[in-house]
Amino acid sequence: MSPVSKNLETAANPGALRRVAIDPLSRVEGHGKVTILVDDANRIHQVRLHIVEFRGFERFIVGRPYWEVPVMVQRLCGICPVSHHLAASKAMDIVVGAGRLTAAAEKLRRLMHYGQILQSHALHFFHLASPDLLFGFDSDLSRRNIVGVAEAHPETARHGILLRKFGQEVIRITAGKRVHGTGSIPGGVNKAMTIAERDLLLKDIYEIIGWSRDAVALAKKLHHQNPALYNSFGAVRSKILSLVGPDGAMDLYDGVLRIRDENGAIMFDGIEYSQYLEHIEEEVKPWSYMKFPYLRALGADKGWYRVGPLSRVQNCDLIPTPLAEIERREFMDYSGAMPLHAPLAFHWARMIEMLHAAETIKDLLHDPAILSNDLVKRGARASQGVGVIEAPRGTLIHHYGVDENDLVTMCNLIVSTTHNNQVMNEAVREVARRYLDGREISEGLLNHIEVAIRAFDPCLSCATHALGKMPLAVELRSLDGELIDSRTRD
């Protein structure tokens, strides 16, 4: 650890330090940057992950008719639109008095959601993470991408593309379209699945399960090959939060909130998510657009927590599909009595969830309820609704107020990346302490920072991607703005 600074959030004398920026981060969704302040001896004094996310989107929703919202919110993000579609739908279910959906509607929504989990996890592992994991964090930059993986490991890359495609097909069929789907509506869904559509997916599902098992094996093998790295790289002890089903089983679509402490002991359980504001507060810091959520009961300093696959796999009591449950048990045996807090363990957990998603899709496709036309319910109107879902990256909260003219009067969103804000910052600082402190900074070392962030699969949500909008730049500047060195990739 650096002798000059302990927590690395704020340097004592920033004016005397050089600034290194990774701006924007690569292989994460949207725009974010890391700034590092170093002295003349390259000792680290300050490390911050800054993220711009959802600025103005809540205001964009206010004033719109409530029934438009599940479609509009998909435009938040080009990567996880389905998660927003479903979280908003769940909130609006409450508004239209349909707290409990028909069996067909709930199962079709679950199918859509697990399709989203599968395709999102496949994209992250095979396309974004595997180049670092298979070639090394400071390997040849020109090879450290999906084309490099496809050349060296063609079957792995091929499975990644086909898994992703299958998940998109599940979404297309359940949401009605590949993008901007309208399948989920307040109170249910607007389209039953046909037998032909079901059979189209059934034809491929067993191959998908097989490839998902291979992916778990690959993630596990990488972990076992280098436990010294995988168990400690960027590891930060934190509380963990996720939904679990009423029986404690993993449930990514619905459930109650459960929170464990750093040692894995349950602190809070069975919290109805409609009461989230009683338990979660958000702190604002002047140097980041993104808020820092924490548990009210513990305060901002001690109450921050982690969400996402690594939390969910360790927070539930079981996974209710057989192959994924076997993998969960092996994961838990590996971690021992204490939870694994290492960011690289996200990849193993994420692949266990992908296998669970594939098995769940298979089970739902065999359920005759998905062919029913009993799709929508209505009841007594409410003026507010909260919808929570476990999105691929973690717990996603949508909260709306709706007036008597059917217009949205209030919107509050807490997305998974926001939940993980503090823990990602702490992970980056840990990597900086261990790998960068006192060393000449190179692209490979800066990629260590990105590897830690990337493990969380943050969704920085900026789907504007017009030509010329996404340069990748690393700049070394003095604090008064003088450019010392830079590297740009257009």
Binding site: G78, V179, A466, L467
Partner: protein, 160 residues
């Protein structure tokens, strides 16, 4: 995942309809859908290009990518493109050239002839509508693309 026949021409437009002129490509696709382009042209839209889109490119005779452009010629720029493994390979949003590079490694052969129609936009803020300049550019791009699509015959190509 195993469809057998695809239209010979693919128009793949990408952009976020809620971010001002980033809606140019999806809007062009909507306009094409209302035009008499025939069964031999398939229209696809998405927020951004991703690895699985290589499966949409396979089995075509020609492909047109449509995007909004922050810089470049007005009203649009129409260029032939080839595989180019650029820096977007490591992001959630691939460039068309990067997608063609993934195609080449995935299938082991070069993608069909591809063009990029880059329509000049000016304002990309969340919640904005299309700017007046972008609307003019969209009209010009629609006319030009419809003209380019006209010679296509009803050929259907079989997919392996």
């Amino acid at each position: 995942m195993r469809c057998t026949v695809k239209p010979a021409t693919l128009v793949l437009a990408y952009g976020n309809p809620s971010r001002g002129d980033d809606a140019l490509a999806p809007l062009l696709l909507e306009a094409l859908a209302r035009a008499p382009i025939g069964d031999e042209v398939e229209l696809l839209t998405d927020f951004q290009l991703q690895i699985e889109h290589v499966l949409d490119l396979e089995g075509r005779q020609r492909i047109v990518f449509v995007d909004a452009a922050l810089r470049g010629a007005e009203p649009f720029c129409f260029t032939q493109i080839t595989a180019e493994p650029d820096a977007t390979l490591s992001t959630h949003a691939l460039s068309p050239g990067a997608l063609l590079a993934v195609f080449r490694t995935h299938f082991g052969f070069t993608a069909p002839p591809c063009h990029l129609l880059a329509i000049r936009g000016y304002a990309f803020e969340l919640g904005d509508g299309l700017s007046a300049g972008a609307q003019r550019n969209l009209d010009a791009a629609r006319t030009a693309l419809l003209h380019w699509l006209t010679p296509v015959t009803n050929t259907q190509v079989a997919r392996a």
